[in-house]
């Protein structure tokens, strides 16, 4: 297999080969067992990675079911192996109850913290100059050093004001540091564009309002997230919690 073969396989699997190119490739598939094998391997690899990287709702629900039963295998032994003092059990039960109350109680006000946690993914823009700066921004952002991440993201935006990636994360960092109007300016711009972050930006826009207990505006933004968006479920859940 050479680089051209790999590119052809890739294009074939993406449905990107047409006309004569497609016919030629399919003819080669008939004649070349190695090519067929390589195609099979890549198809299997892509299907597996897709399934693992982007689990659908059914997979997620299934994993939750398994997680809910995990204790039935793990717990019993622990009880037998080491006698846990009663006060520890009581304290644990109390902690679990408090955690439950904090999470589910309708009167609690801290939905913002429940929903605002986000990790910055590593930079996708590959300009040599930008790479180090953005990597540093990722590090700071994920260490929750938002105030320090903001200027680095700002520099990236000075170089390229259309960089939705930097603008989206700067919007969140501004929100985390309570600079809400500035955060909204960034998130609004991302939402107005057509990047992958469009509806994530709508979600965080809702959180900027939630942060100041403006539930109405928060709802308005959550309702902008369409059913086919990846964060639709999360948005609906927050809407219910509101």
């Amino acid at each position: 297999m050479n680089a051209f073969d790999h590119e052809q396989i890739d294009r074939y699997l993406s449905g990107d080969l047409n006309g004569e190119e497609l016919r030629d490739f399919e003819q080669r598939l008939l004649e070349d067992a190695n090519l067929r094998k390589a195609l099979g391997t890549q198809r299997e690899l892509q299907d597996t990675l897709h399934r693992e990287l982007f689990p659908d709702q059914r997979q997620q629900a299934f994993m939750q079911t398994l997680a809910s039963h995990r204790g039935s295998v793990a717990d019993q032994t622990q009880k037998r192996r080491e006698q846990i003092p009663r006060y520890v059990i009581a304290a644990t039960a109390m902690a679990a109850m408090i955690a439950g109350l904090l999470f589910f109680s309708p009167w609690q006000k801290d939905l913002y913290h429940q929903y605002s946690s986000v990790e910055m993914v590593s930079p996708a823009e590959r300009g040599e100059h930008n790479e180090g700066r953005l990597l540093k921004a990722v590090e700071l952002f994920n260490d929750k050093e938002f105030a320090s991440a903001i200027p680095l993201l700002g520099e990236a935006l000075t170089g390229d004001s259309t960089n939705a990636y930097a603008r989206y994360y700067r919007g969140i960092a501004l929100m985390e540091t309570s600079q809400l109007p500035e955060a909204r300016t960034d998130l609004q711009k991302v939402f107005d564009g057509n990047s992958l972050f469009k509806y994530d930006a709508a979600f965080y826009m809702a959180l900027t309002y939630l942060k100041e207990d403006d539930f109405n505006n928060s709802r308005v933004w959550l309702q902008k997230i369409p059913e086919d968006a990846a964060n639709y479920e999360k948005a609906q859940k927050l809407l219910n919690d509101l």
Partner: protein, 194 residues
């Protein structure tokens, strides 16, 4: 020539996993997990290890049944137990821990079919692990490109989000994929796979 096999009545367990039937999944845990726990604990493992192994086995069965149309032609219990056993043996081997002294299947009447199906399922699950491990070892740049490319977004949109041209994205993705496949092929035999 292989003789077509009939679905075993225990196919209902696979259907329950695929359909996330919580009642029957509860039954699976109730009926089968204790033997696995006992086996793992008797062989140098903890109840937590058993819970992990049991869950992993169910996920592998789910993946095969849902995405590759696996149909059960043998009873479910020995099939599941064999997969768990194989997984635990592998774990022990990886960590240089003492081998198995007490067998899980010594009292079961296990047919050849069951061994074959369980071995195949174990290998598929292990392959998924290998794919994920090799993917995780790639440079961040390749991981990012593959991750975005495999999302269901239009590739032009992905290229724009990554700040590259569509042509560059396509070329880079196929380079990254080729690298990933090469590292997988190098490691297949080390992982006990063909």
């Amino acid at each position: 020539m292989s003789i077509p096999k009939h679905k075993h009545e225990d196919q209902r367990y696979l259907d329950a996993l695929v359909n996330n039937d919580t009642r029957v999944i509860g039954e699976i845990y109730h009926r089968f997990s204790q033997r696995v726990r006992h086996f793992v604990q008797q062989n140098n493992g903890s109840a937590d290890d058993a819970a992990d192994i049991f869950q992993e086995a169910l996920v592998d069965i789910y993946n095969q049944a849902r995405f590759k149309g696996l149909e059960l032609t043998c009873p479910f219990e020995p099939f599941l137990l064999l997969i768990c056993k194989r997984k635990w043996l592998n774990e022990l081997k990886k960590n240089n821990r003492r081998g198995v002294t007490i067998d899980i299947d010594e009292q079961s009447n296990i047919g050849e079919d069951t061994f074959f199906l369980a071995e195949q399922l174990w290998a598929d699950g292990e392959k998924t692990k290998l794919f994920k491990a090799m993917f995780a070892q790639m440079g961040e740049r390749c991981q990012e490109i593959i991750r975005w490319s495999l999302s269901n977004k239009p590739q032009e949109e992905v290229a724009a989000a990554l700040g590259v041209t569509y042509g560059y994205l396509r070329k880079k993705k196929s380079e990254c994929m080729a690298g990933l496949i090469a590292s997988i092929n190098t490691n297949l035999s080390k992982w006990g796979l063909k």
